[in-house]
C-alpha cells in the first residue's frame, strides 16, 4: 500500500483556476474523503492523482516516487467511477479480469485471482452476465471487484455511490468501508454528501472555491470547523451562526434581551482578538442548544419538525436570524410560542466576521 503526497499541486483550465496550489499527505492505509460542493475542485484533484488529468504545477508523490508525469497505467492505482464504467461488451468475468490481462499474467493466475475477489464481494452468480443486465448495486460491486483485482497501491473513488438509490447507498457504504478495513488500502474518496463523508472517512478534506478549507477527522471537522464555510457545510442543518456584538464578556445578540455570557475560558481569547469589543459570530450545533425555562437566550418557535427520535425547532431570534435547536420529541412547542434556551459551554465556537475564520482557544494560533 502507499502514501500519496501532493505538493503545491494545482490545475488551471485557461483562466479558470480549478484547483489552487494545495498540499496534502494521505497516509498508508488511510481512508480520506474529499468533500465539497460541486465545482470545488475535488474531482479534478482526484483525477490529477490518477493521472487522467495533467497537473498545471506541483508534484505528486506515490510512496516517495515522483509520478507527476507518469501515464495512468504506470501509477499502480485503481479508479472507481461514478457511473461504474463497466465495459458493456464484456461479461462480468471479463471485466474483472481485464486489468490483470494488461499485466500479462498467466491464464491460471488470472482465474485464481478473479475467483478470490469474486468471493470477497459475493458476486459469483453474476460472472457470465453482461453489466447492462445488473442492478446498480451489483454493477457497483463488479466495479469494486475490478478495482480490487490488481491489488493496486491506492484506490481512488469518484462519488461511487452517487448513481445508486438512496436506500441502497447505506448498504454499499458499509460494504466499501468493510472492504477498506479488510484490505487496509489507501483510499481517496470524493463525495459531495457530508453524511457519507462523516460515516466513512478517517480524515475529511473539505474543499471549496478550488482550495482546501480544512483537513481533519470527522469529529474535528464537525465540532471544530476552521471557518464559516465548513461550519455551514458540515451537518444538516449546519451550525447555527449568530452575529452579535462582543463587549466585557457578553455577546449582545439580536432580539430584545439576548445577552450571552461568554464561558470564562473564552473570555480572554475574545478580549485579545477584538481588543476589548467588536463584532463576533457565535456558532453552535443544533444539539448544543438546551431548551429550558431558565435559559438566558430567547426566541419564538417558527416551525418544528418531528424527526422521530428528536424534534428540530426552528427558532426566530428576531426578524432575520432563524436558528435550529434539537429538542426533546416529547415536549411540544407550538408555533409562535416563546422558547428559552442555553448553549452548552463545551460546544460553543466563535468566528471572526472579518476573516471568516474560527477563533481558536489554543495558545499560539
Amino acid at each position: 500500500m502507499a502514501t500519496i503526497e501532493l505538493r503545491q499541486v494545482e490545475k488551471r483550465f485557461g483562466d479558470l483556476q480549478a484547483v489552487k496550489p494545495m498540499d496534502l499527505t494521505i497516509h498508508d492505509g488511510e481512508f480520506v474523503v474529499l468533500l465539497g460542493p460541486s465545482g470545488c475542485g475535488k474531482t479534478t484533484t482526484l483525477r490529477m492523482i490518477s493521472g487522467l488529468e495533467t497537473v498545471t504545477g506541483g508534484t505528486i508523490l506515490l510512496d516517495g516516487r515522483n509520478v507527476t508525469w507518469l501515464h495512468p497505467s504506470e501509477r499502480d492505482i485503481a479508479f472507481v467511477f461514478q457511473f461504474f464504467a463497466l465495459y458493456p461488451h464484456m461479461t462480468v468475468r471479463q471485466n474483472i479480469a481485464f486489468p490483470l490481462q494488461a499485466q500479462g499474467e498467466s491464464h491460471e493466475a488470472i482465474e485464481k485471482r478473479v475467483d478470490e475477489v469474486v468471493e470477497l464481494l459475493e458476486i459469483g452468480h453474476l460472472l457470465d452476465m453482461r453489466p447492462g443486465k445488473l442492478s446498480g448495486g451489483d454493477q457497483q460491486r463488479v466495479a469494486l471487484a475490478r478495482a480490487l483485482v490488481r491489488r493496486p497501491a491506492a484506490f481512488l473513488m469518484d462519488e461511487p455511490l452517487g448513481a445508486l438509490d438512496a436506500d441502497f447507498r447505506e448498504t454499499m457504504r458499509a460494504e466499501i468501508k468493510r472492504l477498506h478495513i479488510v484490505q487496509n488500502a489507501t483510499t481517496v474518496y470524493v463525495t459531495h454528501d457530508q453524511v457519507e463523508a462523516m460515516a466513512m472517512a478517517d480524515r475529511i478534506v473539505v474543499m471549496s472555491e478550488a482550495e482546501i478549507q480544512q483537513v481533519g477527522t470527522p469529529a474535528e471537522v464537525y465540532h471544530k470547523p476552521a471557518n464559516l464555510f465548513v461550519a455551514r457545510f458540515i451537518g444538516s442543518p449546519g451550525m447555527n451562526l449568530v452575529r452579535g456584538h462582543y463587549a466585557d464578556g457578553v455577546v449582545h445578540m439580536p432580539g430584545a434581551d439576548n445577552h450571552y455570557s461568554v464561558p470564562p475560558d473564552w473570555r480572554r481569547v475574545l478580549d485579545e482578538t477584538f481588543g476589548g469589543e467588536g463584532e463576533v459570530i457565535v456558532g453552535f450545533r443544533p444539539e448544543a442548544a438546551i431548551v429550558s425555562d431558565e435559559g438566558t437566550l430567547a426566541g419564538q418557535v417558527y416551525a418544528s419538525d418531528l424527526h422521530g427520535a428528536y424534534t428540530m425547532l426552528h427558532v426566530n431570534m428576531n426578524e432575520h436570524d432563524i436558528i435550529h435547536i434539537r429538542s426533546d420529541r416529547l415536549v411540544l412547542h407550538p408555533i409562535g410560542t416563546p422558547v428559552r434556551f442555553d448553549i452548552n459551554p463545551e460546544m460553543v465556537r466563535f468566528f471572526d466576521p472579518r476573516t471568516e475564520k474560527a477563533i481558536s482557544r489554543e495558545v499560539g494560533q
Binding site: S50, G51, L52, H71, P72, S73, R75, I77, A78, F79, F81, F83, A85, Y87, P88, H89, F98, P99, A102, Q103, R146, R150
Partner: protein, 332 residues
Amino acid sequence: MASFVETGPQAPVTEAIRVDKVSPRSRLTRTVRALIVIIVTFIGLIPVFVMGITAFKSRADVVAVPPKLVFKPTLEGFVYLLTERAVLTQDRLAEAQAHIDELNWMQRIALENGQEITGPSDYVFRLKNSAIIAGVSTIVSVGLGLLAAYAFSRFDVPGKGDLLFFILSTRMLPAVVVTIPLFLMYRQLKLHDTHLGMILLYTVFNLSLSVWLLKGFIDEIPREYEEAALVDGYTRLQAFFKIVLPQALTGVAATTVFSLIFAWNEYAFALMLTSERARTAPPSIATMLGRGGIEWSAIAAGSLGFLIPVVIVTFALRRYLLRGVTFGAIRQ
C-alpha cells in the same frame, strides 16, 4: 374496446396494454399508415421489378409491346453481359450442334442464337475493378475516419472546428464541378485510369462522411470507459482497440455501408477519369447502350448483378443499421 377503457381490466393484466394502442381511432391511423407505406414501397420497387424481369427476358420478349408479364425466362441477358461472342457460319453452326453435349450452358444459349463464345466480356473485368476500388477505398476511408473521429472527439485538437468544417467542405461541390480540374491533375500525376487514383479519390470523398458520422458515434461513448482502461494498465491505443472500437461497431457498420454504396455506385468520376484499365462497372453498363443495337436484357442483367453486393452488405449489417442511422448521425 371502449368498455375496457371505462371499466378497467376484467382479468389479470399480464402484459402492458397502452390505451392509445387499443382505441379504435389510433388503430385506424395505424392501418392507414401501413397502407401508405405499402403503396410507397410498391411504387419505389416498380423499376427494380421491371429491371428484374427484363434481365430474364429473351431479345424478342424485351421489345414486345405491350410489355409481357408472362414469358419464358432465359439467361440470355447474362450470357450477353458476361461474354464476347462471334456469329457462326452455316457449316460451323452445324458442327457445333453436333457436339452440343460437350458445351456448357452458356455456350448452348449462345448457340441458340447462332453464336459462339470467344471469351469473357469487358464487363467481368470492370466488375472486378469496381470490387477492388470500392472495397479498398471503403476500408481505408472508414479506418482513417475512425482514427480522425476519435481524435476530434477526445482531444483538444487546435482549430478543431475549422478542421471539421474543412473536412465537411470537401463534400460541398458537386462531382461534375470538380471532375475537370481533377482530370487535368490526374493526367499530370499519371493517376488517370489507375486503380490507385480511383481509390484515392473515393477515399477522400468518403472521408468527410466517415469522420462526421463516426465522430457522432464516438461522442456518445462515455470517456470513462477508456479512462477505466487507462488506469487499469492499458495504453491509449490499446484502450481504443479493446474498449472504444467494440462499442463503436454500430457506427462503423453504418459508415461502411454508406461509403461502400457511394464508391460502388459512383458514375461521374469513373466516366471521366478512367478509360480502360481501371474502368468500373457503372460507366460500362451505360456504354452497352451504344454497341450494335440496345441489349436491354444485358443492361438489366448488369444492373441487377450490380445491385446484389450492396444488398448483401446492407442485409448483413442491417442489425447495426437501424440503430446506426437514428443514433449518432443526428447529433451535432
